[in-house]
Symmetry: C2
Subunit: 472 residues, 2 copies
């Protein structure tokens, strides 16, 4: 695929159509990504104000065969937002398209432009006495279009699903510059192939999402939070089954944490209050959101008692107020920051079938130990089978000392995930980091269908080339 | 697209590969559909026993350019399962592939082959103390592969979603005969384009689903059922909002019925017990499935009281036992049969945004009345914005007398749906009945993307030609 640079002649044609104030050379922040794995060399930055302008930009890029990098909040962790090589791309940032187009509380829906920051979407829902349940660490800067393009996960998936489950309709500009007006607020609509679900998770390789109709929910009447010390990951899962049997969908979050996370917090962020005198080997953070007159503390006490009786739980704390609940959540939420401060040798965002989860943790530990002496911080959304399995140097060692082992660790962990029927990217996506993993572990028939779809919808290969699929 | 017939030479090649006992001429029942709108002329019927045999069949059909009609339970209502014209097709019925491949209660999943009857899937879940919530009138004969291919709806959508929301992974044979092994039981998996959601709802035009990993749920601890008389469709929606505010996801079903349905039952199925002395103009059938120690009758009484206080409800019955609940549901479930016995002039499976629902009912009545004097039975899944809006002759008139008005009625109803941002096929799909509607009302960019995807994955156009998209 021969792509051309977004050069001054190209920029001049865009300016002639759209005026000069939507274009400028891309500053450094548009050419970086949070993990520092890739850096874009340069880029022509476009800041369209509406969908028609996005369509004009894409038409020009398609005619000129210029690569287009869709840009949301820039918080993605797999390099989907930067193109480190190839001719200068057109970077299309949706940041100006950040309007709330409408809120429909009676329908439990709202329509947001793609550039709206996730936290602002949450706030708009709350202002209408509704809940938009997508919640993740980067919600203060991630934009909803990017959340959808990457099918973001987070802590609300257990109850409310991934980003794709929260979207009723999309508006998008396809690679030929046509606007697809699929911004339906319908709960049921069986009229042909579901383009919405094809664009969600395609990471900007099949078009640019410009707006979305999102599902809202009645917020639970009351919430409750507990930290419980469990015997093992298997006990955590058995406790989750008890919780669901007692409370059904009212179990909102169920996060597994290993002692290593508490230790890292003590080492790097000692100002964070530790809830237990001695960090527990395994613990779970549980949120319930209840209705129907249920008392959340009593519901958590019932769960604790049944967990004790079944030998799953041996200690725990139930938050007595909002402050305490926030303190418990702060532990979970700051673990990624503590990880970053320690500096991982290799980190993995994996999922396995729930039945294989305990086995994964056991076997992965053994396989990593066979490579070297490491500290492992394993935590995550255990009810989704999604673990962040991160490998760190021992105290006093630097990550650089393990450069030669990184690929081996990654391969060992991913091979095991694959053997257990799991996924090597549970929630972060493929981006550019995992293109090779997708080729190695992906189903061949699926890969060939993906390539056929990409070629059919984007024959010139302009949309985010090199992400998800190797550039043609 | 030049397709060839599934002639004796073709059959001989299949028999040589697969043995003779999976092939026979298709009996009449494989060439009919429930509404009698289409009849297949003839067909070569294949009854594969496993996925490899399906793949062999498709490879042969693709090589020979023979049309393939995937066949599940044959219960679809839009003619997706019969090809009325063109060269003799190969009809691939999945009925022998009806095994339960595995149940994983701890994971809340099971794996079913595509030919498993929906009621058998429900029973398999129940045997593991779990719930598979897809529920629809044809569940005793519909097969899960067909339910997924058409993204079936039904009465459980309000709480649990459409068929697509209940599927974690698929195994399918693509139009080139390749087997896609996407039978993951994962809750999170962001590894490339979501082929699953592309095949779901594609009505067999992009491949044949051979097995599915399905989501199960903890069954609610207790259930309760009520029939409430509401002032209007708008009052029904306001009552639903109250129910959700009080009970969150524990509201399992919320079905709207018009007096006409009760009248049709009295006229054609007088053995069905009528719950009210005089049929109410508008009523809702409500199911709640509760956990956490909630008493379902008390929860329904609280809802009734708040509905009365708000002026939404003016009478109602709360089922005192399972028998009474079943009696209430029998009313709702037999309305389609009463409709069939009356004989509609035109029936419509539509959805609109919830905020436009009351307006739709009002305006549609006026537009139909402008065409002629009809009885209208409007009922459906009001919480999903999905109405079955069916138009019948007056007493003493025959449907044939209105043959000349049928197209006008359909057009008037669908035009209104389109004006209100709705869908002309909420849950039944496009099949062959609504290909023209999709062309008329579908978004042009979406249609062009659909055609490109179809051409890319099925370049010879063998898979269910003429369904969803006009045969090329």
């Amino acid at each position: 695929m021969n792509l051309n640079p977004a050069d001054s002649a190209f920029a001049a044609r865009l300016s002639a159509d759209l005026g000069p104030d939507i274009l400028r050379p891309a500053e450094a922040r548009y050419l970086e990504e949070p993990r520092g794995l890739y850096a874009g060399q340069q880029g022509l930055l476009a800041l369209p104000r509406d969908t028609a302008e996005v369509a004009t930009l894409i038409c020009h890029a398609n005619d000129a065969r210029v690569a287009v990098i869709p840009y949301g909040g820039g918080t993605g962790l797999v390099g989907g937002q930067v193109m480190p090589e190839g001719p200068t791309p057109l970077i299309v940032s949706l940041e100006r398209m950040n309007r709330l187009r409408g809120t429909y509380p009676q329908e439990n829906t709202l329509i947001a432009e793609a550039g709206m920051i996730l936290a602002d979407v949450q706030a708009a829902a709350e202002a209408a006495d509704r809940l938009f349940p997508l919640s993740l660490a980067a919600e203060g800067s991630a934009r909803i279009g990017g959340n959808l393009a990457t099918n973001a996960g987070g802590t609300g998936v257990l109850r409310y699903g991934n980003a794709r489950d929260l979207c009723l309709g999309l508006e998008a500009v396809l690679p030929d510059g046509k606007i697809w007006n699929g911004l339906t607020r319908l709960r049921k609509n069986n009229t042909g192939y579901d383009l919405r679900h094809l664009l969600i998770g395609a990471e900007g390789t099949l078009g640019i999402i410009t707006a979305a109709a999102l599902k809202l929910f009645s917020p639970p009447a009351q919430t409750g939070t507990a930290l419980m010390i469990v015997d093992s990951p298997a006990a955590a899962l058995a406790l989750l089954a008890q919780a669901r049997s007692q409370l059904g969908e009212m179990v909102s979050a169920f996060e597994l944490m290993h002692r290593q996370g508490y230790d890292f917090l003590a080492e790097k962020l000692p100002e964070i209050r530790q809830p237990f005198d001695a960090p527990p080997e395994w613990s779970v953070l549980i949120d319930v959101g209840v209705s129907g007159g249920i008392n959340p503390s009593e519901a958590l006490e019932t769960l604790f008692a049944s967990g004790m009786e079944a030998g799953l739980v041996h200690d725990g704390l139930i938050a007595q107020n909002r402050q305490q609940a926030d303190d418990f959540w702060r532990i979970r939420e700051m673990i990624p920051e503590a990880n970053r401060l320690i500096g991982s040798v290799s980190s993995h965002d994996i999922s396995v079938p729930l039945g294989a989860l305990a086995d994964f943790i056991k076997q992965a530990g053994a396989r990593v130990a066979a490579i070297g002496d490491f500290r492992i911080n394993c935590f995550g959304h255990v009810g989704d089978g999604n673990l962040h399995y991160n490998v760190f140097p021992q105290v006093g060692k630097a990550r650089d000392e393990h450069d030669g082992q990184r690929d081996g660790i990654k391969r060992a962990v991913h091979d095991l995930v694959d053997e257990l029927g799991g996924s090597v990217s549970a929630e972060h996506g493929i981006g550019r980091v995992k293109v090779g993993d997708l080729e190695r572990y992906g189903d061949p028939a699926k890969l060939s269908a993906m390539r056929a779809i990409k070629a059919a919808l984007d024959p010139n290969g302009i949309m985010n080339p090199g992400a998800v699929l190797r550039a043609g």
